[in-house]
C-alpha cells in the first residue's frame, strides 16, 4: 500500500477523488471534542443503524462521515448534509429518523434543527450563509469538518500530500524556505516569529543532526484551535512538518501534545501510522531519498511546557523548565542540536502555501501579518466556537459579526486576547485590526488565538486576579521574579478583591511588575504581569474604586457591593425567589420583591435569572 512515487500519489488521489464523487449525498457529523461531549457519537450510531437497516447507501449513494470540529461548538452536535450544505444544530438521536425520511429521502429541510440568527431571528438553511461561517476564511482549518480525520485517503482526495510531493520533487530546500519567507508566515503559537527566517537559521547552523518539532501543547484557558486541528486534520500537520524537515534538513522530530487531549493524541497517532504505511513518513519519502519520521511526545499538561526551551527539555525527558535562550533553539535546541519548533496551526498552513503559492498567502492579511489566524471565540458572546479569519479584520467584526454580539445584548466591556499572558482591550480598541504588531502595541498580544469576550458584569480586577491565579499555578518556579513576584502580585489582587486594598497598592503592583517584566527568565514570566498592566492601563478607575471607595460596580467582588431590587423595574414574577439558594428574597407575587442584605451571599443567581434586569448592584 506504500505510495512510492509522485506518480502513484497522483493515481491514488484520483482514485480517492472518484470514490468521493460517487457519493451523492454526504452526511457529516461533527465528532470534535465539543460535539462528542454533547453526544454526537450516539447520533452517528443511530444514523449508521438506520442507514444500514434501510439499505440507503446504495440507493441514495449516501455517505456518512464523522469529521473534526466544525467550530460552532456551542450548537453541537452538528450535522451537515452535503452537497447542499444543510446545517443542523443540536441534533439528538431521536431526530435521526426525521432527518433520514425528510431530508435524505424527500429532500426537505427540518426547520426546527436549523440555526436561528440571534439578531434577525431568522432560520438559516445553509452552512455558508450563517454569519458565523460566512465571514470566515479557512486555511489552517481548510479540511476540518469536510474530511474524516481517521482516513488518509480522504485527506489525499482533497489534495493532501500534494504539497509535499511538490516540495520534494520540484523544489530545493532553499526554494521551500524562500517560499515560506515570501509568504510572510509567522509563528502562530504566540511569538509571531517569521517562520522562513527560523527555518533558514536552522538550516545554516552547522550540525550533523537537526530536528523539526510541533508544539501541540496548547495551554491557554479557553483556547482550542490546535486541538481542533490535531483532531480534525492531523495529516495537514504531519505534511507541514515533513515539508519543514525537508527544508531544514531534519530527519526526525516529535509532536509534543498534551495528555489532556486524548482525541488529538489518538488521531495524530493514527495519522502517523497511516502516513508511515503509505510512505509519507520514514525512509525515502516518495522516492526522493529523503527520510523523516515523527513521534508523539505526550506532555503532562504543564502550561510552561508550551515554552520552546521547556518543551524541548520535556521531549528529552528532563524537567520541563525553560532555559535562557541567549543561544536560540534554532541553533541549540533539542539535544543541543539545531531545532525548528512551530505550533500546530503554523504547520497546517505550510502545505497550503506550497500548493497555492506564497504570493496568494501574502496577499491575505496586513503588511507584516499575512494569512489568516484561528481564534477560539469564547466568553459572553452569542456564537462561541472556533473561527479563522484573515489577519487585519477588526475585533468588532469578530465579536459582533461572527460572534453575533454580546449575550443578552448587554454592553461590551473588554476582550481578552492572547491567553493568560495577553491583555484586556476596552471598547475603544474594538476597531483595531487584529494582527501581531497592533495587538502588542495596544498592550495585549495575539498569542495563540484565545479570545475571551466580557460584558459589563465582569470585574476587571477580578479578571486580572483570575489570570494571575492561573499563572501562579503554572509558573515553573525556577526563577524568583516569576515564582515569588507573580505570587505577590496575586496576593495584592486578592486583597483588593476582598476589600482589603490599601492606598499605594497600585503603585506597588506597578513597580513589582516592572521588575518581573525585566528580570524573569522566560517569556511566561516576562509577560505574566500583562493581565494586570493592561487592565490598569484601560480600567484603572475600577482598581481605584475597589481600593478607595470599596466598590465593585460589576457586582463580582462579594465584599464590595450588595444587591438591591429596583422598585420601578420589578414585576414581582418570583423567579428570583426561586433562584435564591439561601432564601434571602422575600415578596408576594406581583409585588415588588426585597433582598435581605444580611443573609444574601451575593452569588448573583437572582441577577442572572431576572428577565427585567431589576436586580441592581449598589
Amino acid at each position: 500500500m506504500r505510495i512510492a512515487t509522485v506518480q502513484s500519489l497522483k493515481v491514488a488521489a484520483k482514485k480517492a477523488r472518484s470514490e468521493r464523487e460517487s457519493i451523492k449525498t454526504e452526511v457529516l457529523v461533527c465528532a470534535g471534542t465539543g460535539c462528542l461531549a454533547n453526544g454526537s457519537l450516539a447520533v452517528v450510531e443511530s444514523l449508521e443503524r438506520s442507514i444500514c437497516s434501510r439499505k440507503l447507501t446504495a440507493e441514495l449513494k449516501l455517505g456518512l462521515k464523522t469529521t473534526g470540529c466544525h467550530g460552532f461548538c456551542e450548537k453541537g452536535p452538528l450535522v451537515v448534509i452535503q452537497p447542499k450544505g444543510i446545517f443542523y444544530k443540536g441534533v439528538k438521536p431521536k431526530d435521526v429518523k426525521e432527518i433520514i425520511e425528510k431530508t435524505l429521502i424527500s429532500g426537505e429541510v427540518i426547520e426546527r434543527l436549523l440555526y436561528r440568527d440571534p439578531n434577525t431571528k431568522e432560520r438559516i438553511e445553509e452552512y455558508t450563509e450563517i454569519p458565523f461561517y460566512s465571514r470566515q476564511l479557512r486555511i489552517a482549518l481548510r479540511n476540518i469538518g469536510k474530511i474524516d480525520p481517521g482516513s488518509i485517503d480522504d485527506y489525499i482526495a482533497v489534495g493532501g500530500y500534494a504539497g509535499l510531493a511538490t516540495a520534494l520533487t520540484e523544489m530545493t530546500p532553499e526554494e521551500v524556505i524562500d517560499s515560506i519567507t515570501k509568504s510572510g508566515l509567522r509563528g502562530r503559537g504566540g511569538g509571531g516569529f517569521p517562520a522562513g527566517r527560523k527555518w533558514k537559521t536552522c538550516r545554516n547552523a552547522p550540525a550533523e543532526t537537526r530536528y523539526v518539532l510541533c508544539n501541540a501543547d496548547e495551554g491557554d484557558p479557553g483556547a482550542f484551535m490546535d486541538r481542533s486541528i490535531c483532531e480534525g486534520d492531523p495529516h495537514a500537520v504531519i505534511e507541514g512538518m515533513v515539508i519543514g524537515a525537508w527544508a531544514v534538513g531534519a530527519n526526525s522530530g516529535s509532536i509534543y501534545v498534551r495528555e489532556e487531549y486524548p482525541l488529538a493524541v489518538k488521531h495524530l497517532q493514527l495519522a502517523i501510522d497511516q502516513a508511515r504505511e503509505k510512505g509519507f513518513l520514514g525512509d525515502d519519502i516518495l522516492g526522493s531519498g529523503f527520510s523523516y519520521d515523527v513521534h508523539i511526545a505526550r506532555g503532562g499538561g504543564a502550561f510552561v511546557c508550551g515554552e520552546s526551551s521547556a518543551l524541548m527539555k520535556s521531549v528529552a525527558g528532563e524537567v520541563g523548565e525553560p532555559r535562557a535562550k541567549y543561544i536560540h533553539s534554532v541553533i541549540r535546541g533539542l539535544h543541543d542540536q539545531p531545532t525548528v519548533l512551530n505550533n500546530v496551526e503554523t504547520w497546517a498552513n505550510v502545505p497550503w502555501i506550497i500548493n497555492e503559492g506564497a504570493e496568494k498567502f501574502a496577499t491575505l492579511g496586513t503588511g507584516k501579518s499575512t494569512g489568516t489566524k484561528a481564534f477560539s471565540l469564547v466568553g459572553k458572546v452569542k456564537n462561541t466556537g472556533l473561527v479563522e479569519v484573515p489577519m487585519g479584520i477588526t475585533l468588532r467584526e469578530i465579536i459582533f459579526e461572527i460572534g453575533g454580539g454580546i449575550i443578552g445584548d448587554r454592553p461590551f466591556k473588554a476582550v481578552q486576547t492572547g491567553g493568560p499572558s495577553g491583555g484586556c482591550l476596552p471598547e475603544d480598541k474594538l476597531d483595531l485590526p487584529v494582527d501581531f504588531d497592533t495587538l502588542t502595541e495596544a498592550g495585549s498580544m495575539m498569542g495563540s488565538g484565545g479570545m475571551i469576550v466580557m460584558d459589563d458584569r465582569t470585574c476587571m480586577v477580578d479578571t486580572a486576579r483570575y489570570f494571575l491565579e492561573f499563572l501562579v499555578d503554572e509558573s515553573c518556579g525556577k526563577c524568583i521574579p516569576c515564582r515569588e513576584g507573580v505570587h505577590q502580585l496575586h496576593c495584592i489582587l486578592e486583597d483588593i478583591c476582598a476589600g482589603e486594598g490599601q492606598p499605594g497598592d497600585i503603585e506597588k503592583i506597578e513597580s513589582l511588575s516592572d521588575v518581573i517584566v525585566s528580570a524573569s527568565l522566560c517569556a511566561l514570566g516576562k509577560s505574566a504581569p500583562n493581565p494586570i498592566l493592561s487592565t490598569l492601563r484601560y480600567f484603572r478607575n475600577e482598581y481605584e474604586a475597589h481600593i478607595n471607595d470599596g466598590k465593585c460596580a460589576a457586582g463580582v467582588c462579594r465584599n464590595l457591593f450588595s444587591f438591591e431590587i429596583s422598585e420601578e423595574a420589578c414585576v414581582g414574577c418570583g423567579l428570583c425567589i426561586k433562584a435564591c439558594p439561601v432564601d434571602s428574597i422575600l415578596g408576594e407575587k406581583k409585588e415588588v420583591h426585597r433582598i435581605n442584605g444580611k443573609t444574601c451571599t451575593r452569588c448573583g443567581a437572582c441577577r442572572n435569572i431576572c428577565a427585567v434586569d431589576a436586580i441592581k448592584v449598589v
Binding site: 535562557a324 541567549y326 518556579g477 524568583i480 515569588e484 506597588k508 521588575v515
Partner: protein, 269 residues
C-alpha cells in the same frame, strides 16, 4: 571548537579581552568586578534562577537597544557593552531579595544579603509555611555533579520544593551530604553520630577510621567513591588526622634510621 578566539568587550567602561565561550560573569569576576549571585557555583552548570547577576547589555550595532540579561549565562560577544550596576539593576536586585525575604524571613543568609540593600523586613506578604529554602537548586546540581542524581525539584511555582522521589529515602543517595554542605541557607540537615549518618530519611552506617575509629564517611559513599576513582577502598578509610600522624611518625622514624642523615627532604617538585 573556537575556544581560542579572543573577544573584546567593555564592562563598566573598561575594556577587556577574554576567550570566546566565557560568560560575562566569568570575565567580570576575573577582573575583580563584583556581581552578586545566589544560585551560581563555578563547578556547577549555571541555570540563571536567582536573577541577582542581572546586568545590562548593549552593543554599538544594536541601534540603542539595551536589556537585562543574566551574566552567569550570557556568552560574551565582540563589542558587547556591559553595565553591572545602575538604578534599574539595583532596584531589580533589591526587589528580588525583598521577595526572597518574604519567602524565607528566617533564613539568616538571606537576611544578610537583603540588609546589604537596606532591607531589614520584607515589604511583601510573608509566606505562611515556613521555609528557608530559596530554591537555588545548588543541592540538586551538586548531587548530579557527584553522579548520584538522588534528589530533585518537585512541583512547580510557589509550591515547588526540593525533594526525594516518592518521599522515600532516595535509593541513589550515598550519604555524602554534599547537598547540605553547598546549601547557602543550611536548609538541608544531616546528623552524624559515631555509627550513623542520618540524611534524607536514610540511616547510613559509617566507615570507621582504621586507626582511630572515628567515623570517616558512610559505607555506601566509600563504595561509590572507590569505584568511581578506581581505587581500593582501603585507601579511603583513614581519617585525615591519622594520615597526618602516620606521616609524622614515618618522618620521625626516618631520622632515627638516619635515612635522611641531616640531609634535605625534597617535598615539592
Amino acid at each position: 571548537m573556537t575556544n581560542n578566539k579572543t573577544i573584546n568587550l567593555e564592562i563598566d567602561g573598561r575594556f577587556f579581552q577574554a576567550d570566546e565561550g566565557m560568560t560575562i560573569l566569568e570575565v567580570a569576576r576575573r577582573e575583580g568586578i563584583e556581581i552578586p549571585t545566589l544560585c551560581q557555583h563555578d563547578a556547577l552548570e549555571p541555570v540563571g534562577a536567582c536573577r541577582l547577576c542581572l546586568v545590562e547589555i548593549t552593543h554599538p550595532n544594536w541601534k540603542g537597544w539595551k536589556g537585562l540579561v543574566t551574566s552567569c549565562l550570557y556568552p560574551i560577544e565582540e563589542g558587547l557593552q556591559v553595565t553591572t550596576n545602575n538604578p534599574e539593576i539595583h532596584t531589580a536586585r533589591k526587589t528580588l531579595l525583598d521577595l526572597l525575604l518574604a519567602r524565607c524571613p528566617e533564613a539568616t543568609y538571606i537576611q544578610k544579603c537583603a540588609a546589604e540593600y537596606g532591607i531589614t523586613a520584607t515589604s511583601f506578604k510573608k509566606r505562611e509555611e515556613e521555609t528557608t529554602c530559596i530554591l537555588c537548586g545548588l543541592c540538586v546540581r551538586v548531587c548530579a555533579a557527584k553522579g548520584c542524581n538522588a534528589i530533585g525539584a518537585t512541583g512547580r511555582g510557589i509550591t515547588k520544593g526540593i525533594a526525594v522521589p516518592f518521599r522515600q529515602p532516595p535509593p541513589d543517595c550515598i550519604g555524602c551530604a554534599s547537598c547540605a554542605h553547598i546549601c547557602p541557607t543550611d536548609t538541608i540537615k544531616y546528623t552524624d553520630t559515631e555509627d550513623l549518618r542520618k540524611i534524607w530519611g536514610h540511616k547510613f552506617k559509617m566507615v570507621k577510621c582504621v586507626s582511630c575509629g572515628r567515623p570517616v564517611m558512610p559505607e555506601k559513599q566509600l563504595e561509590f567513591e572507590a569505584a568511581k576513582a578506581g581505587l581500593d577502598a582501603k585507601y579511603l578509610t583513614t581519617c585525615p588526622q591519622c594520615s597526618q600522624d602516620q606521616t609524622l611518625a614515618t618522618v620521625q622514624s626516618s631520622f632515627q634510621s638516619k635515612t635522611v642523615p641531616g640531609g634535605s627532604l625534597e617535598v615539592a617538585r
